[in-house]
Assembly symmetry: C2
Homo-oligomer: 400 residues x 2
């Protein structure tokens, strides 16, 4: 292809993507509304939408009220027609779900708890499960995967997974990119979660959005003015390995006093195991189960459980203070296993933030629990693929 | 102006800016080279350069060797013709310098040490000094100012200045924006320093650049893929107030264990005052003088001085580890007062980074001392104005 026609096709793809994104975010619109909003001529919009209609990507919805009472035909993106598989890799936890383009969940399954020794078997099991889903549902057009950070995005590897180093051996791009008949997209877990908030929670999509993942690891994803913050190799925003105490607990990463040593689901489980009275039988539970049991007990008013929850929340608050000083986000969304502690957690995090930040900065940072119906990282895995669907339509259907 | 002609003039300004930036970064070029490099037609370049020639912003340099041995005329940006004033506000320290567009320093002066009680007088003194400079040098076209963070960029105020709260009362935009006959630009100090590295040290301008300001405060400026990282209100990258010990020394900002309580010039001076044997007479010195004296003594091989320098460097190293985990920069440049400790400081910072980061991430982060001939923040104050000169030429000369 000549450089000129290269450029032309990239402009066409960009315009097509802008039409899809506009319809995605605004629902039913007329051609005239789209033309006005994205600054293309009506003729260009007619040409682009004709191709999208021919491919059944969009549909006409009949007459709608237009400008100056002129009637015009509504167009709608067929969001229910396309399904997306989202795969969340935590450390011991793998979840697989199917969504439509609007984040409505159609299916979800948890794989058996992963042991350090059986990671290759888990990879094989994921491949088989996803293949079966694709075979049974021809609407599936893409797979998104959310993997623990620090994720080296160009290499396809996680540089370190505290407490389960076996995941380091897995090259996600190599293991999965050609495993299915549909494209696969991989993203660091907290960034995927941030993308889910960005896509499905429009009031959070302005300014600088931070998704604070409180799960088997502690992670952070930042979307600043619409752009994900990666750094040089994709290992920026690794808040879980930012030290809160240079003389504190040692971590697998080489650092000392890493935030995730104090408030991840694993760290909580460790503390429960050391104090077996709080959640009886916790040593045979998964990290998520142990945390759930603790939060349930705190919910009944048990003082010991409540004190532990508040103590953990204080550490999460210290992390939030660091996030504010390092990234000055508009909003911090708390999600994943530990966020299920709910309002008492949020209250304590807010207290620490007001106590330890400059008032006019801390007070102006909104802190909230994730309100997505499904876990933000599973949803985020799908959001990664949906973002690619909207940005690179020619990967998904014939546009010629 | 109609929206169409608005758009046209913004496109013209953008093209003009691209021509200036190309000439700025590449030196003498032919019209054909510029056209090819920035993707405009030769006719458009002829039109733009004709106006710039008429205004004497650029000049013809005579014949040069063109493509395929065709001879063509070289064009050159008149970098020596335009002078810029850079003003650095530290806490007790104000420096004013004049540079040409290529960062050659023409003049520099230190104002008398600032006391908390005399900040309004200092503001007046800066205004008078800069006015005199502009009166005496008609080449001066802009003033850039670098001020301590956390700087609320839309409000023009610093939200907090540890140890000298009086600066909080100063609204830099209000005090200075109309004070001179030339435009004034204000930026947070470490961001200005990052901009100086970006502009005057081309090998650092790729990827993600971090300027780590080790002065009366500890600051950080990040330029990620050409874009400064601000966050919601401009108070991102406040590394000086990131805690390295949640049970550590309290700070004016409300936080506990803030990095700058351990390794700023002020913190070093405090330690010297508490151990008067190391630098005799230090209690009557400025922070910068006390630090210089300590580094000089360490340079003579004095073991006590060397131990203190190494101890401070270890804290700066902890900060570098946090910068790597939070921002994953390609390169960290150390600058300002404390960086004058030189190689022993750099060695210790590198040792801490290798010890406390994931090897493949830490090893791949370049750490270096600023090599700019003048302090990076003073230079950076000018760089802020130079960036605006190149991006918004119509503010500086007649383009009609």
């Amino acid at each position: 292809m000549s450089s000129y026609s290269d450029q032309q096709s990239s402009i066409s793809e960009n315009n097509r993507s802008r039409v899809l994104q506009y319809l995605y975010h605004n629902g039913i619109c007329s051609r005239a509304q789209i033309a006005k909003a994205i600054g293309l001529t009506p003729a260009a919009i007619t040409k682009i939408t004709a191709k999208l209609l021919a491919q059944d990507v969009i549909e006409e919805t009949g007459d709608m009220e237009g400008d100056k009472n002129r009637r015009s035909i509504g167009l709608n993106l067929n969001c229910a027609k396309y399904h997306i598989v989202g795969v969340k890799f935590a450390r011991s936890l793998v979840q697989i779900a199917v969504f439509d383009l609007k984040c409505n969940r159609i299916f979800m399954t948890d794989l058996p708890t992963v042991n350090e020794e059986h990671i290759p078997e888990t990879v094989e099991c994921i491949r088989n499960t996803v293949r079966r889903l694709i075979k049974d549902d021809s609407s599936i057009v893409a797979v998104g995967m959310a993997v623990p950070g620090p994720y080296l995005k160009d290499e396809g590897r996680t540089a370190l997974v505290s407490s389960m180093q076996g995941w380091r051996q897995i090259n996600f791009i190599k293991e999965f990119s050609d495993a299915f008949d549909v494209p696969v997209f991989v993203e660091q877990d907290a960034r995927a979660g941030a993308l889910a908030q960005f896509l499905f929670n429009p009031e959070l999509s302005k300014g600088s959005l931070a998704y604070y993942l409180l799960g088997e690891g502690i992670g952070l994803g930042i979307i600043d003015n619409g752009a994900i913050y990666y750094g040089e190799r994709g290992t920026a925003t690794e808040i879980g390995h930012v030290s809160i105490d240079v003389n504190g607990k040692p971590c697998d990463c080489g650092n000392v006093g890493c935030l995730e040593r104090y408030c991840s689901a694993n760290a909580i489980h460790e503390r429960l195991n050391a104090n077996p009275g709080i959640v009886p039988g916790c040593e045979s539970m998964t990290h998520a189960q142990a945390c759930s049991a603790l939060f349930a007990k705190a919910g009944t008013g048990d003082e010991t459980a409540m004190t532990l929850v508040r103590d953990i929340a204080r550490y999460i608050g210290y992390g939030a203070v660091t996030i504010i000083n390092a990234f000055n986000p508009t909003c911090i969304v708390l999600g994943d296993i530990v966020a299920q502690a709910g309002q008492p957690l949020l209250d304590e995090v807010e207290r620490v933030v007001l106590d330890r930040t400059i008032p006019e900065i801390g007070r102006n940072t909104r802190i909230t629990l994730s309100t997505l119906p499904t876990d933000a990282t599973v949803t985020g895995a799908a959001a990664v693929a949906i973002t690619n669907f909207l940005e690179h339509p020619s990967m998904f259907f014939d546009v010629a």
